[in-house]
Protein backbone atom coordinates (compact mmCIF):
# COMPACT_ATOMS: atom_id res chain seq x y z
CA UNK A 1 0.00 0.00 0.00
CA UNK A 2 2.88 2.31 0.84
CA UNK A 3 4.31 1.90 -2.62
CA UNK A 4 1.14 3.06 -4.31
CA UNK A 5 0.93 6.12 -2.08
CA UNK A 6 4.40 7.32 -3.06
CA UNK A 7 3.42 6.66 -6.68
CA UNK A 8 0.35 8.84 -6.24
CA UNK A 9 2.41 11.63 -4.71
CA UNK A 10 4.93 11.44 -7.55
CA UNK A 11 2.32 11.52 -10.31
CA UNK A 12 0.46 14.38 -8.62
CA UNK A 13 3.72 16.29 -8.38
CA UNK A 14 4.49 15.66 -12.04
CA UNK A 15 1.07 16.85 -13.15
CA UNK A 16 1.36 19.91 -10.90
CA UNK A 17 4.70 20.82 -12.49
CA UNK A 18 3.25 20.16 -15.92
CA UNK A 19 0.36 22.53 -15.31
CA UNK A 20 2.36 25.37 -13.72
CA UNK A 21 3.13 27.14 -17.02
CA UNK A 22 -0.53 26.82 -18.00
CA UNK A 23 -1.61 28.17 -14.62
CA UNK A 24 0.69 31.14 -15.14
CA UNK A 25 -0.84 31.83 -18.54
CA UNK A 26 -4.38 31.75 -17.08
CA UNK A 27 -3.28 33.88 -14.16
CA UNK A 28 -1.91 36.56 -16.48
CA UNK A 29 -4.93 36.47 -18.76
CA UNK A 30 -7.14 37.69 -15.88
CA UNK A 31 -4.83 40.54 -14.91
CA UNK A 32 -4.54 44.08 -16.15
CA UNK A 33 -1.30 45.03 -17.87
CA UNK A 34 -0.42 47.34 -14.98
CA UNK A 35 -0.59 44.46 -12.56
CA UNK A 36 1.37 42.13 -14.84
CA UNK A 37 4.21 44.60 -15.18
CA UNK A 38 3.88 46.03 -11.67
CA UNK A 39 5.12 43.00 -9.80
CA UNK A 40 4.64 39.30 -9.32
CA UNK A 41 1.28 38.19 -7.93
CA UNK A 42 0.21 34.58 -7.70
CA UNK A 43 -3.46 35.48 -8.17
CA UNK A 44 -5.01 38.46 -9.95
CA UNK A 45 -5.54 41.28 -7.43
CA UNK A 46 -7.97 43.05 -9.66
CA UNK A 47 -9.71 40.27 -11.53
CA UNK A 48 -10.61 41.42 -15.03
CA UNK A 49 -12.21 39.90 -18.13
CA UNK A 50 -11.18 42.85 -20.30
CA UNK A 51 -8.50 40.84 -22.10
CA UNK A 52 -11.07 38.29 -23.20
CA UNK A 53 -13.51 41.05 -24.07
CA UNK A 54 -10.96 42.49 -26.50
CA UNK A 55 -10.81 39.18 -28.34
CA UNK A 56 -14.53 38.47 -28.41
CA UNK A 57 -15.51 41.96 -29.54
CA UNK A 58 -13.02 42.38 -32.37
CA UNK A 59 -13.79 40.40 -35.56
CA UNK A 60 -10.17 40.43 -36.66
CA UNK A 61 -9.37 38.58 -33.43
CA UNK A 62 -12.12 36.01 -33.23
CA UNK A 63 -11.99 35.36 -36.97
CA UNK A 64 -8.56 33.90 -36.31
CA UNK A 65 -10.16 31.19 -34.18
CA UNK A 66 -12.87 30.63 -36.77
CA UNK A 67 -10.25 30.35 -39.52
CA UNK A 68 -8.20 27.85 -37.55
CA UNK A 69 -11.26 25.78 -36.70
CA UNK A 70 -12.47 25.86 -40.31
CA UNK A 71 -9.31 24.50 -41.84
CA UNK A 72 -8.84 21.96 -39.04
CA UNK A 73 -12.42 20.70 -39.54
CA UNK A 74 -11.90 20.50 -43.31
CA UNK A 75 -8.66 18.64 -42.77
CA UNK A 76 -10.29 16.10 -40.43
CA UNK A 77 -13.11 15.45 -42.92
CA UNK A 78 -10.81 15.09 -45.94
CA UNK A 79 -8.37 12.93 -44.01
CA UNK A 80 -11.04 10.53 -42.77
CA UNK A 81 -12.73 10.31 -46.18
CA UNK A 82 -9.58 9.22 -47.98
CA UNK A 83 -7.90 7.32 -45.14
CA UNK A 84 -10.84 5.02 -44.29
CA UNK A 85 -10.98 3.11 -47.60
CA UNK A 86 -7.18 3.07 -47.85
CA UNK A 87 -6.75 1.67 -44.36
CA UNK A 88 -9.36 -0.97 -45.19
CA UNK A 89 -7.39 -1.97 -48.29
CA UNK A 90 -4.13 -2.18 -46.34
CA UNK A 91 -5.72 -4.22 -43.55
CA UNK A 92 -7.54 -6.72 -45.82
CA UNK A 93 -5.68 -7.13 -49.09
CA UNK A 94 -2.28 -7.71 -50.56
CA UNK A 95 -1.78 -5.79 -53.76
CA UNK A 96 0.94 -4.67 -56.09
CA UNK A 97 3.36 -2.38 -54.24
CA UNK A 98 1.36 -2.29 -51.01
CA UNK A 99 4.35 -2.32 -48.65
CA UNK A 100 6.24 0.31 -50.63
CA UNK A 101 3.18 2.51 -50.76
CA UNK A 102 2.71 2.23 -47.01
CA UNK A 103 6.29 3.24 -46.27
CA UNK A 104 6.19 6.02 -48.81
CA UNK A 105 3.12 7.37 -47.02
CA UNK A 106 4.88 7.22 -43.66
CA UNK A 107 8.00 8.84 -45.06
CA UNK A 108 5.95 11.98 -45.64
CA UNK A 109 5.46 12.16 -41.90
CA UNK A 110 9.25 12.50 -41.73
CA UNK A 111 9.53 15.43 -44.13
CA UNK A 112 10.39 18.63 -42.28
CA UNK A 113 7.61 21.17 -43.04
CA UNK A 114 10.28 23.80 -43.58
CA UNK A 115 11.37 21.87 -46.67
CA UNK A 116 7.96 22.30 -48.28
CA UNK A 117 7.32 25.93 -47.38
CA UNK A 118 8.33 27.54 -50.62
CA UNK A 119 7.02 24.91 -53.05
CA UNK A 120 3.69 24.87 -51.22
CA UNK A 121 3.48 28.62 -51.42
CA UNK A 122 4.09 28.54 -55.17
CA UNK A 123 1.86 25.53 -55.81
CA UNK A 124 -1.15 27.03 -54.05
CA UNK A 125 -0.54 30.49 -55.47
CA UNK A 126 -0.39 29.13 -59.00
CA UNK A 127 -3.73 27.32 -58.70
CA UNK A 128 -5.33 30.31 -57.02
CA UNK A 129 -5.84 28.76 -53.61
CA UNK A 130 -3.47 30.99 -51.66
CA UNK A 131 -5.08 32.43 -48.52
CA UNK A 132 -7.99 29.96 -48.50
CA UNK A 133 -8.91 27.48 -45.80
CA UNK A 134 -8.81 24.57 -48.19
CA UNK A 135 -5.16 25.26 -49.04
CA UNK A 136 -4.11 24.86 -45.41
CA UNK A 137 -6.35 21.81 -45.01
CA UNK A 138 -4.77 20.15 -48.07
CA UNK A 139 -1.24 21.04 -46.97
CA UNK A 140 -1.85 19.54 -43.54
CA UNK A 141 -3.00 16.32 -45.21
CA UNK A 142 0.68 15.72 -45.92
CA UNK A 143 1.23 14.57 -42.34
CA UNK A 144 -2.30 13.81 -41.10
CA UNK A 145 -3.22 11.30 -43.83
CA UNK A 146 -0.24 8.96 -43.28
CA UNK A 147 -0.87 9.00 -39.54
CA UNK A 148 -4.60 8.37 -39.98
CA UNK A 149 -4.01 5.43 -42.32
CA UNK A 150 -1.55 4.00 -39.83
CA UNK A 151 -3.87 4.26 -36.80
CA UNK A 152 -7.00 3.12 -38.65
CA UNK A 153 -5.22 0.11 -40.09
CA UNK A 154 -4.34 -0.99 -36.56
CA UNK A 155 -7.99 -0.78 -35.48
CA UNK A 156 -9.32 -2.49 -38.62
CA UNK A 157 -6.96 -5.44 -38.21
CA UNK A 158 -8.78 -6.15 -34.96
CA UNK A 159 -12.07 -6.86 -36.81
CA UNK A 160 -12.16 -10.49 -38.05
CA UNK A 161 -12.73 -10.85 -41.78
CA UNK A 162 -15.61 -13.27 -41.16
CA UNK A 163 -17.80 -10.19 -40.63
CA UNK A 164 -17.01 -8.96 -44.15
CA UNK A 165 -17.71 -12.33 -45.71
CA UNK A 166 -20.92 -12.81 -43.79
CA UNK A 167 -22.20 -9.43 -44.91
CA UNK A 168 -21.38 -10.17 -48.55
CA UNK A 169 -23.20 -13.51 -48.33
CA UNK A 170 -26.19 -11.65 -46.91
CA UNK A 171 -26.20 -9.63 -50.11
CA UNK A 172 -24.67 -6.39 -48.92
CA UNK A 173 -22.88 -4.38 -51.60
CA UNK A 174 -19.43 -3.14 -50.64
CA UNK A 175 -20.37 0.52 -50.01
CA UNK A 176 -23.43 -0.54 -48.01
CA UNK A 177 -21.41 -3.03 -45.95
CA UNK A 178 -18.64 -0.50 -45.37
CA UNK A 179 -20.93 2.27 -44.13
CA UNK A 180 -23.67 0.26 -42.38
CA UNK A 181 -21.69 -2.63 -40.89
CA UNK A 182 -17.99 -1.96 -40.85
CA UNK A 183 -17.71 1.69 -39.79
CA UNK A 184 -19.92 1.27 -36.69
CA UNK A 185 -17.64 -1.56 -35.58
CA UNK A 186 -14.56 0.66 -35.57
CA UNK A 187 -16.31 3.73 -34.13
CA UNK A 188 -13.75 4.21 -31.39
CA UNK A 189 -10.92 3.92 -33.90
CA UNK A 190 -12.48 6.65 -36.02
CA UNK A 191 -12.86 8.83 -32.93
CA UNK A 192 -9.24 8.38 -31.96
CA UNK A 193 -8.05 9.02 -35.51
CA UNK A 194 -10.14 12.17 -35.69
CA UNK A 195 -8.58 13.27 -32.42
CA UNK A 196 -5.01 12.81 -33.67
CA UNK A 197 -5.80 14.45 -36.99
CA UNK A 198 -7.37 17.36 -35.18
CA UNK A 199 -4.43 17.63 -32.81
CA UNK A 200 -1.66 17.70 -35.39
CA UNK A 201 -3.54 20.11 -37.62
CA UNK A 202 -4.51 22.41 -34.74
CA UNK A 203 -1.00 22.79 -33.34
CA UNK A 204 0.79 23.36 -36.65
CA UNK A 205 1.53 26.94 -37.55
CA UNK A 206 4.49 27.15 -39.94
CA UNK A 207 2.59 25.91 -43.02
CA UNK A 208 -0.68 27.52 -41.97
CA UNK A 209 0.97 30.90 -41.65
CA UNK A 210 2.88 30.65 -44.91
CA UNK A 211 -0.19 29.74 -46.95
CA UNK A 212 -2.42 32.54 -45.67
CA UNK A 213 -2.35 36.31 -45.46
CA UNK A 214 -5.69 37.81 -44.43
CA UNK A 215 -8.84 35.82 -45.15
CA UNK A 216 -7.75 32.51 -43.71
CA UNK A 217 -5.15 33.63 -41.22
CA UNK A 218 -4.86 31.26 -38.25
CA UNK A 219 -5.11 32.53 -34.68
CA UNK A 220 -1.44 31.80 -34.10
CA UNK A 221 -0.44 34.36 -36.71
CA UNK A 222 -2.88 36.95 -35.39
CA UNK A 223 -1.43 36.65 -31.91
CA UNK A 224 1.75 38.38 -33.05
CA UNK A 225 -0.30 41.57 -33.39
CA UNK A 226 -0.16 42.05 -29.63
CA UNK A 227 3.44 43.13 -30.07
CA UNK A 228 2.94 46.80 -30.80
CA UNK A 229 5.01 49.95 -30.80
CA UNK A 230 4.35 50.49 -27.09
CA UNK A 231 5.52 47.01 -26.15
CA UNK A 232 3.70 43.74 -25.79
CA UNK A 233 0.09 43.60 -24.64
CA UNK A 234 0.72 40.71 -22.24
CA UNK A 235 -2.85 40.43 -20.98
CA UNK A 236 -4.46 39.99 -24.39
CA UNK A 237 -1.64 37.72 -25.53
CA UNK A 238 -2.23 35.44 -22.53
CA UNK A 239 -5.99 35.44 -23.03
CA UNK A 240 -5.58 34.55 -26.71
CA UNK A 241 -3.18 31.76 -25.78
CA UNK A 242 -5.48 30.41 -23.08
CA UNK A 243 -8.38 30.23 -25.54
CA UNK A 244 -6.36 28.07 -27.96
CA UNK A 245 -6.15 25.31 -25.36
CA UNK A 246 -9.93 24.85 -24.99
CA UNK A 247 -10.80 23.09 -28.30
CA UNK A 248 -8.15 20.44 -27.68
CA UNK A 249 -9.46 19.67 -24.21
CA UNK A 250 -13.02 19.42 -25.52
CA UNK A 251 -11.99 16.99 -28.23
CA UNK A 252 -9.91 14.75 -25.97
CA UNK A 253 -12.80 14.61 -23.49
CA UNK A 254 -14.94 12.83 -26.09
CA UNK A 255 -12.36 10.16 -26.86
CA UNK A 256 -10.83 9.83 -23.38
CA UNK A 257 -11.79 6.17 -22.96
CA UNK A 258 -10.32 5.08 -26.28
CA UNK A 259 -7.35 7.34 -26.56
CA UNK A 260 -5.00 5.01 -24.68
CA UNK A 261 -5.70 2.36 -27.30
CA UNK A 262 -5.11 4.81 -30.11
CA UNK A 263 -1.75 5.84 -28.76
CA UNK A 264 -0.54 2.29 -29.40
CA UNK A 265 -0.97 3.22 -33.09
CA UNK A 266 -0.47 0.46 -35.63
CA UNK A 267 1.94 -2.27 -34.74
CA UNK A 268 5.43 -1.80 -36.17
Amino acid sequence: MKQSRSKNVAITLFIALLLTPVYWLLNMSFKTNQEILGGLTLFPNTFTLDNYAVIFSDPSWYNGYLNSMTYVAMNVVITLLVALPAAYAFSRYRFLGDKHLFFWLLSNRMAPPAVFLLPFFQLYSSIGLFDTHIAVALAHCLFTVPLAVWILEGFMKGVPREYDEMAFIDGYSFPKFFIKVFLPMIRSGIGVTAFFTFMFSWVELLLARTLTSVDAQPIGAIMTRTIGASGIDWGVLSAAGALTIIPGILVIWFVRNHVAKGFALGRV
Binding site: K7, A10, I11, I15, L18, T20, P21, W24, L25, L40, I78, L81, A83, P85, A86, Y88, A89, R92, F95, D98, N108, M110, A111, P112, P113, A114, V115, F116, L117, L118, P119, F120, Q122, L123, L138, C141, L142, V145, R161, M199, W202, V203, L206, G220, W234, G241, T244, I245, P247, I249, V251, I252, W253, R256, V259, G262, F263, A264, R267, V268
Partner: protein
Amino acid sequence: MQKIQNNRAWWLVLPVFLLVAFSALIPLMTVVNYSVQDIFGPGQAFYVGTEWFKEVLGDERLQDSLTRQFMFSGAVLLIQIPLGISVALMMPKSGIKGSVCLILIAIPLLIPWNVVGTIWQVFARGDIGLFGWGLNELGFDYNYTGNTVDAWLTVLLMDVWHWTPLVALLCYSGLRAIPEAFYQAAEIDRASKWAVFRYIQLPRLKSVLIIAVLLRFMDSFMIYTEPFVLTGGGPGSSTTFLSQTLTTMAIGQFDLGRAAAFSLIYFLIVLVISWLFFTAITQADKEQ
Protein backbone atom coordinates in the same frame (compact mmCIF):
# COMPACT_ATOMS: atom_id res chain seq x y z
CA MET B 1 -4.81 -12.33 -40.43
CA GLN B 2 -4.42 -13.96 -43.82
CA LYS B 3 -4.65 -11.30 -46.49
CA ILE B 4 -6.11 -11.89 -49.92
CA GLN B 5 -4.19 -10.96 -53.03
CA ASN B 6 -6.36 -8.49 -54.91
CA ASN B 7 -5.01 -5.71 -57.06
CA ARG B 8 -8.37 -4.04 -57.25
CA ALA B 9 -7.66 -2.83 -53.71
CA TRP B 10 -5.72 -0.09 -55.47
CA TRP B 11 -9.04 1.63 -56.15
CA LEU B 12 -9.48 2.05 -52.39
CA VAL B 13 -5.99 3.45 -51.97
CA LEU B 14 -6.14 5.69 -55.00
CA PRO B 15 -7.63 8.77 -53.25
CA VAL B 16 -4.88 8.71 -50.62
CA PHE B 17 -2.27 8.19 -53.29
CA LEU B 18 -3.49 11.13 -55.38
CA LEU B 19 -3.90 13.43 -52.42
CA VAL B 20 -0.49 12.74 -50.92
CA ALA B 21 1.14 12.77 -54.33
CA PHE B 22 -0.38 16.21 -54.91
CA SER B 23 0.94 17.60 -51.64
CA ALA B 24 4.24 15.70 -51.56
CA LEU B 25 5.48 14.78 -55.04
CA ILE B 26 4.81 18.06 -56.82
CA PRO B 27 6.49 20.18 -54.12
CA LEU B 28 9.37 17.72 -53.88
CA MET B 29 9.91 17.93 -57.65
CA THR B 30 9.90 21.71 -57.37
CA VAL B 31 12.61 21.47 -54.74
CA VAL B 32 14.69 19.13 -56.88
CA ASN B 33 14.23 21.48 -59.80
CA TYR B 34 15.47 24.48 -57.81
CA SER B 35 18.38 22.62 -56.33
CA VAL B 36 20.12 22.23 -59.68
CA GLN B 37 19.50 25.73 -61.00
CA ASP B 38 20.54 29.27 -60.32
CA ILE B 39 17.54 31.54 -60.60
CA PHE B 40 17.88 35.28 -61.17
CA GLY B 41 14.29 36.00 -62.05
CA PRO B 42 11.34 34.73 -64.08
CA GLY B 43 12.70 32.87 -67.11
CA GLN B 44 16.29 33.44 -66.11
CA ALA B 45 17.40 30.16 -64.67
CA PHE B 46 20.67 28.38 -65.36
CA TYR B 47 21.52 24.77 -64.84
CA VAL B 48 24.32 24.48 -62.28
CA GLY B 49 24.35 20.77 -61.54
CA THR B 50 25.59 19.80 -58.09
CA GLU B 51 27.06 23.23 -57.40
CA TRP B 52 24.56 24.11 -54.66
CA PHE B 53 25.00 20.79 -52.91
CA LYS B 54 28.76 21.26 -52.73
CA GLU B 55 28.33 24.76 -51.42
CA VAL B 56 25.75 23.78 -48.82
CA LEU B 57 27.81 20.87 -47.51
CA GLY B 58 30.80 23.20 -47.07
CA ASP B 59 28.81 25.99 -45.41
CA GLU B 60 29.98 26.52 -41.85
CA ARG B 61 26.72 28.06 -40.65
CA LEU B 62 24.88 24.94 -41.69
CA GLN B 63 27.40 22.61 -40.16
CA ASP B 64 27.07 24.51 -36.89
CA SER B 65 23.30 24.32 -36.88
CA LEU B 66 23.48 20.63 -37.79
CA THR B 67 25.74 19.99 -34.77
CA ARG B 68 23.37 21.94 -32.53
CA GLN B 69 20.47 19.97 -33.97
CA PHE B 70 22.07 16.61 -33.19
CA MET B 71 22.96 17.68 -29.66
CA PHE B 72 19.42 18.89 -29.10
CA SER B 73 17.72 15.78 -30.48
CA GLY B 74 20.10 13.56 -28.50
CA ALA B 75 19.37 15.40 -25.26
CA VAL B 76 15.63 15.27 -25.99
CA LEU B 77 15.67 11.49 -26.39
CA LEU B 78 17.92 10.89 -23.37
CA ILE B 79 15.61 12.83 -21.07
CA GLN B 80 12.14 12.24 -22.47
CA ILE B 81 12.18 8.47 -23.00
CA PRO B 82 13.18 7.44 -19.42
CA LEU B 83 11.02 10.18 -17.91
CA GLY B 84 8.05 9.19 -20.06
CA ILE B 85 8.38 5.54 -19.04
CA SER B 86 8.49 6.39 -15.34
CA VAL B 87 5.45 8.65 -15.61
CA ALA B 88 3.53 5.90 -17.41
CA LEU B 89 4.42 3.45 -14.64
CA MET B 90 3.06 5.83 -12.03
CA MET B 91 -0.24 6.63 -13.74
CA PRO B 92 -3.39 5.12 -12.16
CA LYS B 93 -4.39 1.99 -14.05
CA SER B 94 -8.08 2.67 -14.59
CA GLY B 95 -11.21 4.44 -13.45
CA ILE B 96 -11.99 8.10 -13.31
CA LYS B 97 -8.58 8.88 -11.82
CA GLY B 98 -6.94 7.30 -14.85
CA SER B 99 -9.05 9.36 -17.27
CA VAL B 100 -8.38 12.60 -15.44
CA CYS B 101 -4.64 11.90 -15.36
CA LEU B 102 -4.70 11.11 -19.06
CA ILE B 103 -6.41 14.35 -19.98
CA LEU B 104 -4.27 16.53 -17.72
CA ILE B 105 -1.07 14.97 -19.01
CA ALA B 106 -2.21 15.41 -22.61
CA ILE B 107 -2.78 19.17 -22.23
CA PRO B 108 0.69 20.30 -23.39
CA LEU B 109 0.23 18.25 -26.58
CA LEU B 110 -2.95 20.13 -27.49
CA ILE B 111 -1.50 23.61 -27.37
CA PRO B 112 -0.53 25.23 -30.70
CA TRP B 113 3.23 25.30 -31.00
CA ASN B 114 3.57 29.04 -31.15
CA VAL B 115 1.50 29.32 -27.97
CA VAL B 116 3.87 26.81 -26.34
CA GLY B 117 6.67 29.22 -27.23
CA THR B 118 4.68 32.17 -25.90
CA ILE B 119 3.85 30.41 -22.63
CA TRP B 120 7.52 29.71 -21.96
CA GLN B 121 8.63 33.10 -23.16
CA VAL B 122 6.46 34.63 -20.46
CA PHE B 123 6.98 31.92 -17.85
CA ALA B 124 10.79 32.14 -18.02
CA ARG B 125 11.09 35.93 -17.91
CA GLY B 126 12.86 37.30 -14.88
CA ASP B 127 10.42 40.16 -14.31
CA ILE B 128 6.93 38.80 -15.00
CA GLY B 129 7.41 35.04 -15.23
CA LEU B 130 7.10 32.70 -12.28
CA PHE B 131 9.94 30.42 -13.40
CA GLY B 132 12.54 33.07 -14.20
CA TRP B 133 11.58 35.15 -11.19
CA GLY B 134 11.75 32.11 -8.91
CA LEU B 135 15.21 31.15 -10.13
CA ASN B 136 16.46 34.70 -9.66
CA GLU B 137 14.99 34.83 -6.15
CA LEU B 138 16.77 31.58 -5.32
CA GLY B 139 20.03 33.29 -6.19
CA PHE B 140 20.62 31.89 -9.68
CA ASP B 141 21.77 34.38 -12.25
CA TYR B 142 19.27 33.23 -14.85
CA ASN B 143 18.54 35.11 -18.06
CA TYR B 144 17.49 33.20 -21.13
CA THR B 145 17.70 36.11 -23.52
CA GLY B 146 21.29 36.95 -22.69
CA ASN B 147 23.00 33.78 -21.58
CA THR B 148 23.67 30.98 -24.10
CA VAL B 149 23.54 28.14 -21.56
CA ASP B 150 20.32 29.45 -20.01
CA ALA B 151 18.71 29.78 -23.43
CA TRP B 152 19.67 26.22 -24.29
CA LEU B 153 18.36 24.83 -21.02
CA THR B 154 15.11 26.77 -21.40
CA VAL B 155 14.49 25.43 -24.92
CA LEU B 156 15.29 21.92 -23.71
CA LEU B 157 13.05 22.25 -20.66
CA MET B 158 10.26 23.57 -22.85
CA ASP B 159 10.57 20.58 -25.16
CA VAL B 160 10.61 18.16 -22.22
CA TRP B 161 7.47 19.84 -20.90
CA HIS B 162 5.84 19.79 -24.31
CA TRP B 163 6.61 16.25 -25.49
CA THR B 164 7.28 13.99 -22.49
CA PRO B 165 3.47 13.56 -22.25
CA LEU B 166 3.47 11.91 -25.69
CA VAL B 167 6.07 9.34 -24.57
CA ALA B 168 4.18 8.83 -21.31
CA LEU B 169 0.84 8.26 -23.06
CA LEU B 170 2.38 5.89 -25.61
CA CYS B 171 3.96 3.84 -22.81
CA TYR B 172 0.75 3.99 -20.79
CA SER B 173 -1.20 2.42 -23.65
CA GLY B 174 1.55 -0.20 -24.00
CA LEU B 175 1.34 -1.05 -20.30
CA ARG B 176 -2.44 -1.40 -20.42
CA ALA B 177 -2.03 -4.09 -23.07
CA ILE B 178 -0.11 -6.43 -20.72
CA PRO B 179 -2.41 -9.25 -19.51
CA GLU B 180 -2.98 -9.40 -15.76
CA ALA B 181 -1.81 -13.05 -15.74
CA PHE B 182 1.77 -11.91 -16.32
CA TYR B 183 1.74 -9.95 -13.07
CA GLN B 184 0.11 -12.81 -11.18
CA ALA B 185 2.81 -15.21 -12.38
CA ALA B 186 5.47 -12.73 -11.28
CA GLU B 187 3.86 -12.50 -7.86
CA ILE B 188 3.89 -16.25 -7.41
CA ASP B 189 7.58 -16.23 -8.34
CA ARG B 190 8.10 -13.43 -5.80
CA ALA B 191 9.74 -11.34 -8.49
CA SER B 192 11.12 -7.98 -7.34
CA LYS B 193 9.70 -4.71 -8.68
CA TRP B 194 12.80 -4.31 -10.80
CA ALA B 195 12.51 -7.84 -12.21
CA VAL B 196 8.87 -7.19 -13.14
CA PHE B 197 9.90 -4.04 -14.95
CA ARG B 198 12.97 -5.54 -16.62
CA TYR B 199 11.51 -8.87 -17.74
CA ILE B 200 7.78 -8.19 -18.14
CA GLN B 201 7.03 -4.53 -18.70
CA LEU B 202 10.04 -3.36 -20.69
CA PRO B 203 9.96 -6.13 -23.33
CA ARG B 204 6.24 -5.59 -23.77
CA LEU B 205 6.78 -1.86 -24.22
CA LYS B 206 9.21 -2.38 -27.05
CA SER B 207 6.89 -1.69 -29.97
CA VAL B 208 5.47 1.52 -28.49
CA LEU B 209 8.96 2.62 -27.49
CA ILE B 210 10.14 2.22 -31.09
CA ILE B 211 7.30 4.49 -32.17
CA ALA B 212 8.08 6.95 -29.36
CA VAL B 213 11.77 7.17 -30.21
CA LEU B 214 11.07 7.53 -33.93
CA LEU B 215 8.39 10.21 -33.45
CA ARG B 216 10.47 12.12 -30.94
CA PHE B 217 13.55 11.97 -33.11
CA MET B 218 11.73 13.11 -36.25
CA ASP B 219 9.79 15.88 -34.55
CA SER B 220 12.69 17.23 -32.49
CA PHE B 221 14.78 17.23 -35.64
CA MET B 222 12.18 19.39 -37.37
CA ILE B 223 11.56 21.75 -34.45
CA TYR B 224 10.93 25.31 -35.58
CA THR B 225 8.05 27.25 -34.09
CA GLU B 226 8.72 26.86 -30.37
CA PRO B 227 12.37 28.06 -30.21
CA PHE B 228 11.59 30.68 -32.84
CA VAL B 229 8.99 32.24 -30.58
CA LEU B 230 10.90 31.65 -27.34
CA THR B 231 14.41 32.80 -28.20
CA GLY B 232 14.27 33.74 -31.88
CA GLY B 233 17.30 31.49 -32.31
CA GLY B 234 19.47 33.57 -30.03
CA PRO B 235 21.40 34.74 -28.18
CA GLY B 236 23.62 34.93 -31.24
CA SER B 237 22.71 31.77 -33.10
CA SER B 238 23.02 29.46 -30.10
CA THR B 239 19.48 28.06 -30.38
CA THR B 240 19.08 28.29 -34.15
CA PHE B 241 18.19 24.79 -35.29
CA LEU B 242 18.10 23.36 -38.81
CA SER B 243 14.54 24.33 -39.74
CA GLN B 244 15.12 27.90 -38.76
CA THR B 245 18.34 28.18 -40.72
CA LEU B 246 16.52 26.76 -43.72
CA THR B 247 13.50 29.03 -43.36
CA THR B 248 15.69 32.11 -43.06
CA MET B 249 17.51 31.07 -46.20
CA ALA B 250 14.41 30.29 -48.26
CA ILE B 251 11.97 32.99 -47.15
CA GLY B 252 14.22 35.63 -45.60
CA GLN B 253 17.03 35.72 -48.16
CA PHE B 254 15.07 34.09 -50.99
CA ASP B 255 18.15 32.03 -51.78
CA LEU B 256 16.20 29.40 -53.71
CA GLY B 257 18.89 27.12 -55.12
CA ARG B 258 20.85 26.86 -51.94
CA ALA B 259 17.73 26.43 -49.79
CA ALA B 260 16.46 23.67 -52.08
CA ALA B 261 19.74 21.77 -51.94
CA PHE B 262 19.71 22.18 -48.18
CA SER B 263 16.11 20.90 -48.02
CA LEU B 264 16.97 17.72 -49.86
CA ILE B 265 19.98 17.02 -47.66
CA TYR B 266 17.85 17.72 -44.58
CA PHE B 267 15.09 15.35 -45.69
CA LEU B 268 17.67 12.66 -46.50
CA ILE B 269 19.28 12.91 -43.06
CA VAL B 270 15.91 12.35 -41.35
CA LEU B 271 15.05 9.46 -43.66
CA VAL B 272 18.42 7.75 -43.33
CA ILE B 273 18.59 8.00 -39.53
CA SER B 274 15.01 6.77 -39.12
CA TRP B 275 15.75 3.90 -41.48
CA LEU B 276 19.02 2.99 -39.71
CA PHE B 277 17.28 3.00 -36.36
CA PHE B 278 14.42 0.91 -37.65
CA THR B 279 16.74 -1.66 -39.27
CA ALA B 280 18.94 -1.86 -36.18
CA ILE B 281 15.89 -2.64 -34.05
CA THR B 282 14.47 -5.27 -36.38
CA GLN B 283 17.91 -6.86 -36.82
CA ALA B 284 18.41 -7.12 -33.05
CA ASP B 285 14.98 -8.69 -32.91
CA LYS B 286 15.88 -11.41 -35.40
CA GLU B 287 19.12 -12.30 -33.60
CA GLN B 288 17.22 -12.89 -30.41
